[in-house]
Structure formats: C-alpha cells, structure tokens
C-alpha cells in the first residue's frame, strides 16, 4: 500500500513513498515560531526540542475525552476539517492558541498562552506532529507542563452510528515541579479544558447538550528520575520571571531608555 514514485531511467532501485508520508512533520532538531500576533507572549518555544512521553518525568497517563454528535450529518473527515479550520475558537477563554490562520498542517508550530491561575499566564507551544483527514496530533516542547502527544480525532461511534470526536492525551508531567501539581491542580484543569473544548465544538456543530466522557488510565506509575533535570526548561517558572520583569522593560522603553520591546524573548 505504498505509492511508487517515478521510475528513474537507469532502473536504479528507489524506496517507495509510504502513503502516510505527507501526514508527518519533517524532522526538526529545534522548534522555530513564525509570525505571532502582538498580544501573544512568545516564550519557551523557539530553540526548544520537542518531547514525548518517553522524555517526561512523571507517571504516564492516557486520558481520553470523547463526545458523540447525535443528529450531526457529517463524516468524520468533514468534522475534522471544521475542527482544523477553527481550532483556536473552540478553546475555553483560559487558553489562547496562536497558530497559522488557515488550518492545522504537519510541521506547524503554534504558541500557546495558558492562564494557570493567580493572573499568571504560561507561554509555551506545540508542534503539529501528524495530520490526516480524520485526526491530528500535537507534540509538546521542553518546558511545557506535559511531555505529551495529544491526538484529536473523529470516527463513527459504531456502524451507522453518529460521529464521535475525541481528544486523547498520552502524557507525563515534564518535571518534578509540574508532577507535584498533577493530582490536584493540573489534572483537573486539563480535564476541564478539553471537556469544554469538546462541548464548544459539539455545540458549534449543532448538538444542544453535548455529553463528554472522560477516561483516565495510568499506563506507568514509575517516575523517570533520570529526567528530573527537565526542570531547567520549566516554562511556568520562565514565564513568571518574564512577567515580573515587565516593569523594568517598560522603564527601559521610556524616552531615553534606549530599548525596543522584544517580540520574542527566549
């Protein structure tokens, strides 16, 4: 099930192109952010490596949030097309997604600004690792709360049944500080965030009272102490330091201060 490229004249053996080739991001060593709106805090993304569940610190969780779309006459591909096109608009107000304006495509890098309580905003990002017609997956950078793959997908709930959409997150807390907050703060916020996202999407598609189910499975209870040093990238700490430095930067911008406000401080 691979598609052969054009055969070279000299009969040389060439590797067939797998049919998933266009769905995956190209390999990158570090992330690079494109243009972001002026209101975005663009920190902790450019120059960072992506991390997955293998590079995180905390326990490994698989969390699945799912909602059925009864009465919605759309194929899974049509639902995903809507989701990709307006991805940021379905997020709760506590999060802002600054990605490409048109859609979600493999290799895209987006900046995220997340309210984490107490008036503090955390700046981080995601890489679009994979995107096909019926699903797409994000991978997080160093310093993000989670070392995670987050997959958004749609499928028929059962043969001839309604389409269902889901968010599935395979994650470890990225460092010991985040892991400390996992049981009480982080997990609850994460649950509420994706539940509300699915409710917003379902309502947009015409479901009056969406019912979101949540299933959490601890895949590995072991903490990876060899990755405790991830704390040096902690985006929360770095964003707080950046925020606390705002008055000083404002002072420098006053006439005679001699410094322009940087758009991206890494």
């Amino acid at each position: 099930m691979t598609t052969p490229p054009a055969q070279p004249d000299d009969g040389e053996q060439v590797e067939l192109t797998p049919r998933d080739a266009s769905y995956w991001a190209k390999h990158v060593t570090t992330l690079r952010v494109g243009e972001v709106p002026a209101e975005a805090i663009n920190l902790n993304v450019t120059g960072k490596r992506v991390v997955g569940p293998l590079q995180g610190f905390g326990r490994l969780w698989q969390k699945t949030y799912r909602v059925e779309l009864p009465g919605v006459v759309m194929t899974p591909a049509e639902v995903i097309a809507v989701w990709k096109r307006s991805f940021a608009t379905f997020w709760p107000p506590s999060g802002h997604f600054y990605g490409p304006l048109t859609s979600i495509a493999p290799g895209d890098v987006a900046v995220l600004n997340l309210s984490v309580g107490g008036g503090v905003k955390l700046s981080t990002g995601v890489l679009v690792l994979y995107a096909d017609e019926e699903s797409f997956t994000f991978m997080t950078p160093e310093g993000h709360i989670f070392a995670a793959w987050i997959t958004f997908s749609a499928a028929a709930a059962e043969p001839d049944g309604p389409t269902a959409v889901q968010v599935q997150v395979l994650l470890r807390a990225n460092d010991p500080l985040y892991e400390l907050g996992m049981p009480i703060i982080v997990q609850r916020r994460e649950d509420r965030f994706w539940q509300q996202t699915l409710v917003n999407l379902a309502r947009h598609l015409g479901v009056a009272e969406p019912q979101v189910s949540t299933v959490a499975v601890c895949v590995d209870r072991k903490r990876q102490w060899s990755h405790a040093g991830n704390i040096r990238h902690n985006a929360g700490v770095r964003t707080v330091i950046y925020t606390l430095g705002a008055p000083l930067r404002a002072l420098r911008r006053t006439p005679g201060g001699g410094e322009d406000e940087p758009r991206a401080v890494e």
């Binding site: 590797e15 797998p18 293998l54 019926e134 269902a164 590995d220």
Partner: protein
Amino acid sequence: MNQGTSSTMDVRVDGDVSVVDIRGDVTAASEAALSEAYQAANTPSTRAIVLNFSGLEYMNSGGIGMLVTLLVRANRQRQRLLAFGLNQHYRQIFELTRLDEAIGIHDSEAAALAAAQAR
C-alpha cells in the same frame, strides 16, 4: 480512532529473544494484534523483543502511541525493545518522536539480534 486498518504480527521465539514480524498498518486499531503478539513474545526467559518493521506499510500517530505502551510493558518485565527494517521515512519518524532514544534501531535482523544478545 482510525478504523478498518489491517495488520498481522507473527512471533518467532528464539531462546531469550523474540522477534515480532509486523506487516501492514500500525494504527490504534492494531492494539489487539500488538497486545497478542507481545503476550506470545513474552516468555519467562525473554530478555529482548525485536520488532521487524520491514513489512510496515502505514503508521499514524496512534500507532506510535501504541509503541510507547508496548515499551512500558517491556520495561516492566526488564526486557529491551529493539527494531530493524525501518525505511528512511519511518526512521525519521522514530527520530522526530524521539522513540529512537528508547528503542534501539538496527539496519538488519542480524545486527538487532547481536545487540539483543549483548550483555
């Protein structure tokens, strides 16, 4: 939630190393097949499991996620996970997702078996 995909996974047990020959698609729909293959490969004496990807035709992010859970299961049994038969495209995916940091990738079955036997 990609449905209707197909894969076969045959297991060859040779002493303390088991080889899983993967053919077809590796997606979330392959979970039962991969789990069955692991059960067959996991004997009391198994020290390493070698995944043969030379028959791999398609893999999505759900498939990569399953490999992580397989790795967790193997590590729990103190088993190493190795792979061979990955073409350039899938090697790059292993590098991008950083699976290659936990799953040893080799050019051939002989090289993978030699690495599996190394103490």
